[in-house]
């Protein structure tokens, strides 16, 4: 029983990270039709900036405060980087979807290589507050505390995004744009500002996932973004492109399935079963869980 609880909470923590990446991917694809391969780069940039800031804020003695400030720097860096990418690289190729995908592929190659050049190939250790590595007892299982941060961050982001989409003017424009972009433009609303905003939100969420993956693995390496991105893609497609709630549900399913299969069957089988799940979902329901056709 205690193993099961531990696996469940860890699976939810992993799912939380997938959701943070997938939510941005899903919004960007839903609104702009861009499959964003650079999303892993946003994540890696955010995680590295947070690590870099953390190692330079030596004047602050409280480890927790220093880490929170560093994490905020990382999140800001992720959002600004993503917004710049949209303005400089994606906007000139407006409506040329294949070229936009290609540019994001090139950007992800270049960014990862640049980070390798600056900070090296080896992983960098995060200086974390002590309480993140301690455990809490729940139903007889000892749960590492960092899992709670991941789950809380994902739930807060999900609630925040849903509130933003439902109750603000820009949220309304984004929802309408996902539904029918041509119509929104025809009504005289400049959708392009929403594009930059969506990229910034996606970059912010990806950087948050990067920082949290740093907490989860207690280090960051240049390949982190790419390896998480593949699972985030799978989550987005299973959830249905463009649907935030679908992504959240799919992220939980994928995270749990991965943990259970890795433990109860054999290690490595979890990744394989996630891949199989994707194939099955796509063949039975090509639109994913939320049912939007992915073409």
């Amino acid at each position: 029983m205690s193993t099961f609880v531990l696996l469940t909470i860890t699976g939810l923590g992993l799912g939380a990270m997938y959701f943070l990446i997938a939510s941005g991917l899903s919004l960007i694809y839903g609104l702009m039709g861009v499959l964003n391969f650079a999303h892993g780069a946003f994540l890696t940039v955010g995680a590295y900036i947070a690590w870099f800031a953390d190692s330079h804020f030596t004047a602050i003695h409280s480890v927790t405060l220093r880490f929170v400030l560093a994490a905020l720097c990382g999140l800001a860096a992720g959002a600004v980087f993503a917004a710049l990418v949209e303005l400089v690289l994606i906007r000139p190729l407006y409506l040329r979807h294949i070229e936009q995908v290609l540019v994001t592929v090139g950007l992800s190659l270049a960014t990862v290589a640049l980070i390798q050049g600056i900070w090296g190939n080896d992983s960098r250790l995060y200086a974390l507050p002590n309480w993140t590595s301690q455990t809490t007892h729940v139903l007889g299982a000892s749960i590492p505390n960092d899992r709670w941060i991941e789950i809380a961050a994902a739930v807060l982001l999900l609630a925040g995004l849903l509130a933003f989409l439902r109750y603000t003017r820009y949220g309304l424009i984004i929802r309408a744009g996902v539904e029918n972009r041509a119509m929104v433009t025809a009504l005289g609303i400049d959708v392009r500002r929403a594009f930059t905003l969506v990229f910034a939100i996606g970059g912010f969420a990806a950087a948050l996932a990067g920082v949290l993956s740093g907490v989860y693995f207690s280090s960051v390496d240049p390949g982190r973004g790419t390896s998480l991105l593949i699972f985030a893609f799978i989550v987005v497609v299973i959830g249905g492109l463009g649907s935030i709630v679908g992504s959240a549900a799919a992220a939980v399913i994928v995270g749990l399935l991965q943990q259970y299969a890795n433990y109860y069957a054999s290690s490595g089988l979890g990744d394989l079963s996630v891949v199989l799940l994707l194939a099955i979902v796509l063949l039975i329901r090509p639109g994913g869980l939320s049912g939007r056709a992915a073409t």
Partner: protein
């Protein structure tokens, strides 16, 4: 006719490469018949052919697959495992690998081609990822996991083994790249190829004309994947075994970059792009480690010493400023020349009048 002559000249020049005893200055590290240079050239040629097989899917038929690495890796790993782990003879292993390379894409292709567009890209990515995980997992210690698997050199024809024999190893890659180059060339004069291009342009239109796109797409997928598997066997010989790099999604992305740099939907564009990418990827690393680069200030040194950074930037620049890649540049050059001549011809009477 002139293009045919150029092509024949390139083929001849490449064929006698192991006989050239001179170097090309900074282009290569040593004379052209030295083992290191020959191996680099051999790998460039394998990737040239491989990029062309990817172009058959992406450029000709418009199938954006993110799982092409799988079929190349099948060639590399199945052949290596059959020789090294199952102790089969070389030619039996090659025949078996070819059979797997024929059956697997037909099965996986008929499943993944049921969906289109981004969903197709994701299903192929998923299958390739399953292959990559399988290799990592190292079942029965067959694949060697992260360390890869060197081949059992006693079972490979002796002409291909050892550094002095590198010049023999140079023969299979052009032997691979040339027919692979010929296949799409012949295929474009073949009626399914016309349907492929029609599918790329407008699939709905093909259906309206009364043709079922599915068998044609499956044919392109199976042909491209089978040729990639053959390339995998040749690559396995060239590098002396298998390594898990060739199974990753990044490897497929590299193929995509090669094809776009060279020019999608053309024949010699991807050949050129594949060779150029591989050459730059290997050589820029050497140049980046050189003394001249080390003396530069950090702002310049760090980006210049990362081949993938330079290639990524080059790729973005090509997507922005040179759609159609290098091949497109040549076509545009010719079209530009024609336009210029026409302009001159049109202006001549006006000038004469003035």
């Amino acid at each position: 006719m002139a293009r045919l002559a150029v092509a024949a000249g390139v083929v001849l020049a490449l064929a006698f490469m192991p006989e050239y005893r001179f170097g090309l200055g900074k282009v290569f590290d040593g004379s052209l018949d030295s083992p290191g240079v020959l191996q680099l050239l051999a790998i460039c040629l394998v990737f040239a052919g491989l990029a062309l097989t990817y172009d058959l899917l992406f450029g000709f038929t418009g199938l954006l697959s993110f799982g092409h690495a799988l079929y190349f890796a099948v060639g590399v790993y199945v052949c290596d495992i059959a020789i090294t782990r199952w102790h089969w003879s070389f030619w039996t292993a090659v025949a078996f690998t070819a059979a797997v390379g024929l059956v697997l894409p037909v099965v996986l292709g008929s499943v993944s081609l049921r969906v289109g567009g981004i969903a197709f890209a994701m299903v192929t990515l998923a299958f390739a990822q399953a292959g990559a995980i399988l290799v990592q997992k190292n079942p029965r210690r067959w694949t060697g996991g992260e360390e890869g698997l060197g081949y059992d050199f006693e079972r490979v024809p002796q002409t291909f083994v050892g550094i002095p024999n590198t010049k023999h190893l140079y023969w299979p890659p052009p032997g691979y790249a040339r027919p692979v180059g010929v296949v799409p060339c012949a295929a474009t004069r073949w009626s399914p190829a016309a349907v492929w291009q029609a599918i790329r342009e407008n699939e709905r239109c093909v259906e309206v004309l009364g043709l079922l796109p599915f068998p044609y797409k499956l044919l392109a997928f199976a042909l491209g994947s089978f040729l990639a598997t053959l390339g995998g066997i040749v690559y396995m010989l060239c590098v002396g075994g298998a390594s898990p790099d060739v199974t990753t999604a990044s490897f497929t992305l590299a193929l995509l970059v090669m094809v776009v740099i060279g020019g999608t939907g053309t024949l010699w564009g991807p050949l050129l792009g594949g060779a150029l990418y591989t050459y730059l990827d290997r050589r820029l690393g050497d140049v980046g480690g050189s003394h001249a680069i080390h003396q530069l200030p950090g702002v310049l040194r760090v980006p210049l010493s990362q081949p993938l950074f330079l290639l990524g930037v080059l790729f973005i620049l090509i997507v922005f400023f040179l759609p159609g890649g290098i091949a497109g540049l040549a076509t545009r050059g010719r079209a530009g020349g024609r336009a210029l001549r026409r302009l001159e011809a049109a202006l001549r009477p006006a000038r004469g009048g003035a």
